[in-house]
Amino acid sequence: MRPRTPLLAARGTGRRFGKTAALDQVELEIWEGDALALVGPNGAGKSTLLSLLAGALEPSSGQVERRKGVRIGWAPQRPAQYGRLSARENLELFARLEGEPDPKDAAARLLAEFDLPGEPSPSANLSVGNRQRLNLAISLLGDPEVLLLDEPTAALDPEQRRRLWERAAALREAGGAFVFATQNLDEVERVADRVAALRDGRLVFAGLVGEYDRSQTDTLFA
């Protein structure tokens, strides 16, 4: 039987940056088993919506509802980590902050899973791809039930992409959900089961992938 409340929901959510409205009156629900793709042109509000859902930003209007006790992982588009700390130190720090019972073990596990270097060199020295892997690895700390990924595969090689989507699929099968922003429509069809399309901060489409008319894409991304 389906729970009465979604894992995560945007209720008339809006966000302004000064005089600019980045997001306006967005209604969206994320339930167990969802694989939701956020699509839209640059500046449509995808990153802002993910930040609001993650709790990194506060809405200017409306609200974001989270089911009580739900754990959320968030990988922003620009890697969010301390450049002076090594990959391991970043993982250990955020593992402690996320309340992992054994931060060192969690860090070691994710280092291996994402094939990240374990040496103590600063993460600022890592390649763009490795920094993005570290960004994704950090988002998996704390055993999240909902993953919010902002263009997660942009800097990943094909093998790492495959691993990421396998991990996301496993989360979904375990009763969790994931939401990802992307510009890659092939990825949408391959990975997602629902699509939410944004334009100029407004939600212009929300439905199943099969219902999403790819021919609209030209109009949407124009």
């Binding site: 968030w74 922003p76 002076r84 700390l85 902050l97 996320e98």
Partner: protein, 437 residues
Amino acid sequence: MLLRKDVLVLRRSPLLLGILLAYPLAIAALVGLVASYASSKPRVAFVDEDNLPPTVIVGGKRFHVDRTIRQVSENVKLVRLSPEAAQRQLSTGGVVAVVTVPPGFVASLQGMVRSPQLELQLSRGTLSSRVEQQVQALVYSLNRQLQRAYIENNLRYVTLILHGGDGSFLGRPIDVLGIERAEKLLAGMPDTPRNRRLRDFLHDARLALANTGDALRSTAHPIELVRVPLRGRTWVLSAEVQAYALGLTITFLALMLAAGSLAAERDENVIGRLARGLVGLGDLIWAKVALAAGVALVLGLAIAIAFGLIVEVGGVTGGEPWRRLPLLVVGLVLAGGALGALGALLGALAREARSASLVALLVVLPIVFLGLIPAEVVPPAAWVSDVLPFAHSVRFFSAALYDLSPWGSVLREGLWLVALGAVFGGLARVGARRLLV
């Protein structure tokens, strides 16, 4: 956890860490040099254009010129030079001042009618006022030596007026009737009202002149300053310099470190990750305040210890009050915390680490200048300074290190620092929301 991370990040910044390690040592060395200079004797040229004899007799008292100069030049090192050599050394910095005895000096001195003059030339520089004070002290000491001779000479004239007899004035022999002899002469005259008035006057004059000696001596020193020893603790320049050095160092470093490290959370794009329930913005501010307090403590103690060693080795008057260091620790933590809170506020407002560091630097300078202006000179500057941590920090440090009874000042300034830290910390917490945008 965040504080540990900040310390780790600090350790990973070799340039910043190197500056943090070198800074206190450099400051301590500079302060030590200044303090050493404060207790050193500046070299002053002594030019004798009057060909001073080995001895000079003033008011019947014999002065050995060289011995007298040695006695009065406690604070300066007098070096006899020719006028040309003195001018050359003054221009090259070999001497900081030139004291010239002009022609006719001894004649004026022995004449005891007109004050002879010494000429003083000072080098151009920030230390000239101090040298001028020291030369003034030299002349003051010389005057004290001469005063007694002048008074004794003046008293001889008084005695002559009182008793009458032979004497000399400006080298000319004189014969004075004297009050006592005048009274005797008057006693043999008829007792008329006019003579009675003269007798009364002479009687009063004799009584008054009888006390002239004490009166002259007391007018020579209307107020005499006696320095009371303060159980081995003296207010030396080194104490003031050290308090300001600590205040300046901590103000610069704590403010810039807190401002830069808070803004860096946004630069690294980590603030959003932290703010989504992992760490409250208040905790983030608190971590920066703790970082600033910790750095202030370590650097401040390093300065105090290094400074103490330098002045001990240099034998500077007053030395370092080692037993007061625990009290200094409290001041360093409170000052570092208050300045860290102000720095965090600047970091929150500036939002970017580079801008934050620049803003902090621009803010530090007026804060320090305001703190250096005496309240008696520009009261509004003191009012503004009172709502900033620098002046309170300096007052705390100087009281903690050198006041005989520091508790009142330390408590008052400590409460100020806590209150300012709370206010700036609260404002920083509100301002930190800007970092999320």
